[in-house]
């Protein structure tokens, strides 16, 4: 069934179709419609779930950790300051090996106060042990929630579904709502092997000396390696049932591209329009949309960028005193595998629009240069 919906509601439908059993959430702009619709769905008993309206994001994640530990499929959604408040428990959820799924609406961090989009909030959580899937369309948002549970429950690591504030969260698009029976078949009920069980009592997360701590950590890392395999497997499996394909990266005209613009989130759709226009003028440009940040798809990135003469990474985020965060990731993947010069541009922070002109400007700045003459370029910044 097709329905025109906002990105936030696509999350709610994705969670409902995934038959989540416990939702714990706290409101924050621009996430609110996610939980508003879910609270209605739960109250109307269209979903058999408990909705805990907690008093903070920290408690939202704590409740999800409790619920998931007890064997329930747990869900929450947040944004920016809320995600940052959860930080401690993001490590906890991953360390406890809980397949929690959370949606994060990318909103820039304060101060100064802002509610508009950039990716610094989620990218700052890079090392917490959460998988991160960055979405480009409302359809992808809905589908990704379902896929996220499938992958998370296979490898026992949590997943963050990420979408841009407003340009996706509040933008209405036509979305195909998959048939519940098909989703049920694709995502069967989950029986958590390590749940809190009075018939088989165990203690989880207890004091662990240096003798064993590292063994817990390598298992998390191995689970992430396995997650990469599962994400690719599920891309195929999901397409078979639902006809839509979501890989770790999403290339657009990169095969013969001399210059590849690397982006993530909704900036990709603008980049693709720009690519078409530039190609019409004979400029061989392509776009590589990064969909998965963790586990990082090293092989896919190297493969997609192997023919490029120039790589331009456009970050909607910044690691102050260094590069954009995606640039660090992609450069690190290329190091020792490719001699291609890499430019890094910072654009669209705090919700500043990224227009096709932004990309034309970037392409013009790179021009005929053989290699970057600065570490980092900022575009469209007032002097």
């Amino acid at each position: 069934m097709k329905k025109v919906m906002m990105g936030n509601h696509a999350i709610s439908y994705g969670a409902t179709l995934s038959r989540v059993q416990v939702i714990a959430a706290y409101p924050i702009t621009p996430q609110t419609q996610v939980v508003e619709l879910l609270s209605e769905i739960v109250a109307d008993q269209k979903l058999k779930a408990e909705f805990i309206k907690v008093e903070s994001e920290h408690s939202a994640m704590a409740a999800c950790i409790g619920a998931s530990s007890a064997g329930a499929r747990a869900f929450t959604a947040t944004s920016a300051q809320g995600l940052a408040l959860m930080h401690e428990l993001l490590h906890w959820a991953a360390g406890a090996r809980l397949p929690i799924v959370m949606a994060n609406i990318n909103r820039a961090m304060a101060p100064p106060w802002t509610i508009w989009s950039d990716q610094n909030d989620s990218l700052s959580q890079r090392d917490t042990g959460w998988m991160q899937f960055y979405c480009q369309s409302n359809q992808e948002v809905l589908d990704s929630v379902i896929i996220a549970y499938k992958v998370a429950e296979k490898v026992l690591m949590p997943v963050m579904i990420i979408l841009d504030a407003f340009s996706l969260s509040h933008t209405y698009e036509s979305v195909d709502i998959p048939d519940q029976a098909l989703v049920d078949k694709y995502l069967p009920p989950f029986d958590y092997k390590y749940k809190l069980d009075v018939q088989n009592p165990h203690t989880y997360g207890g004091l662990t000396t240096p003798e064993w701590y590292m063994e817990f950590r390598i298992k998390m890392h191995e689970a992430m390696d396995q997650a990469l395999v599962e994400i690719k497997k599920e891309a195929v499996a999901f397409k078979k049932v639902f006809g839509r394909y979501y890989d770790t990266v999403d290339p657009y005209m990169v095969d013969d591209a001399e210059t590849v613009l690397v982006t993530s989130g909704t900036a990709a759709s603008t980049a693709r329009y720009a690519v078409d226009q530039l190609r019409a003028k004979g400029n061989k440009v392509g776009n590589l949309r990064m969909r998965v940040l963790r586990p990082f798809p090293f092989a896919d990135v190297r493969e997609q960028l192997k023919n490029a003469k120039k790589v331009i990474i456009v970050d909607r985020d910044i690691s102050y005193g260094y590069h954009g965060i995606w640039a660090q990731e992609v450069k690190s993947a290329l190091y020792g595998h490719s001699q291609v010069p890499v430019w890094n541009f910072i654009a669209g922070l705090g919700g500043r629009d990224i227009f096709p002109e932004t990309f034309y400007d970037i392409i013009a700045q790179v021009g005929k240069k053989k290699k970057p003459d600065q570490e980092l370029y900022w575009v469209e910044v007032k002097k």
Binding site: Q21, V22, A24, K48, A49, E50, I52, K53, V54, E55, S56, H58, S59, A60, A62, A63, C64, I65, G66, A67, S68, S69, A70, G71, A72, A74, E88, L89, W92, L196, D197, V198, N200, P201, H202, T203, Y204, G205, G206, L207, T208, T209, W212
Partner: protein, 292 residues
């Protein structure tokens, strides 16, 4: 002789509590009442250690260790899961120290109490951050030495009234208890298990290293705390206060203070100040006990 408590133990020996640990007694008594159809969650606290290092545990129930400030929210989450999975009969217990309750965990506690989530929240109160080495908490009483309230600048603030804070949430059941009166605690828990909604149990649990007291004086101190009125043992059921351990004639606080090194610096006028604070708090509670 008929035993006053069940003989069955759900807390095994071999745990890592210090000699004379009041928190150990608190848990042992609690387990006898709560039973095996229960799930516990602990924040960072002495019990993080007492339970035993990985892969050991001294408790015969499932246990989820959790972050310091998250006890009540975690218990809410476990409870929601058990309800939706059709296992709503299992008793869900948050078990935290005074730091995790009075201070860093207060927000989550307030949230769960306001939502009236059907869980037990236990606070075993040893009146300071004992696990990190005796730093003052909001539960540390006036006059006490701790490593962050040194003798020259002993604690000048009064103990936070966590029970009044919880009472302001109008929870269906709350009680205080002292490890010197296990039958009282047991009886309260058996009764509270039948009550749906948020249940708050505040247990005074002396800490020999933190209080600079003799391990063999733990129960004596827990009793003197009650007999002097330093710690009053009562329950509140739907707003109705009932003193369950009566103290018609109260002993002077000095008898309680003098057994503890943490108070040994107090001069006569300081002790008089403690007495005044205790009297005033006791009078406040007496008024509530006498309300019909």
């Amino acid at each position: 002789m008929k035993p006053t408590l069940p003989l069955e133990e759900l807390m095994s020996p071999g745990h890592l509590a210090c000699q004379g640990c009041g928190a150990g007694i608190a848990m042992r008594t609690t387990m006898k009442a709560i039973g095996q159809d229960a799930i516990f969650t602990f924040p960072a606290c002495c019990w993080t250690v007492i339970d035993g290092p990985f892969p050991y545990s001294c408790l015969e129930v499932p246990l989820l260790h959790m972050a310091f400030e998250a006890t009540a929210a975690t218990a809410s989450g476990i409870k929601a899961a058990m309800d939706t999975l059709g296992k709503g009969k299992t008793t869900i217990c948050g078990w935290a120290g005074d730091g995790g309750t009075f201070d860093i965990g207060l927000q989550a506690l307030s949230g769960a109490a306001e939502r009236n989530n059907d869980i037990f929240y236990f606070c075993y109160d040893n009146e300071a951050y004992m696990n990190t080495g005796i730093q003052r908490s909001g539960a540390t009483p006036y006059g006490a030495w701790t490593t962050t309230t040194p003798v020259k600048h002993f604690k000048k603030e009064v103990k936070k009234s966590i029970d009044d804070i919880v009472a302001a949430h109008k929870v269906p059941y709350q009680a205080t208890a002292s490890v010197a009166y296990p039958e009282d605690l047991y009886k309260k828990l058996i009764k509270a298990k039948e009550i749906r909604g948020f249940k708050f149990i505040h247990i005074l649990a002396p800490c020999p290293p933190g209080w600079k007291a003799k391990p063999e004086d733990t129960v004596k101190l827990a009793r003197l705390a009650v007999q002097t009125g330093v710690f009053t043992v009562y329950e509140v059921e739907n707003g109705k206060y009932l003193q369950t351990i009566k103290t018609p004639t109260r002993k002077p606080v000095l008898e309680y203070l003098k057994l503890q090194g943490r108070f040994k610096h107090l001069k006569e006028n300081d002790v008089a100040e403690v007495q005044k604070l205790v009297d005033s708090r006791y009078a406040e509670l007496e008024k509530r006990f006498s309300e019909k």
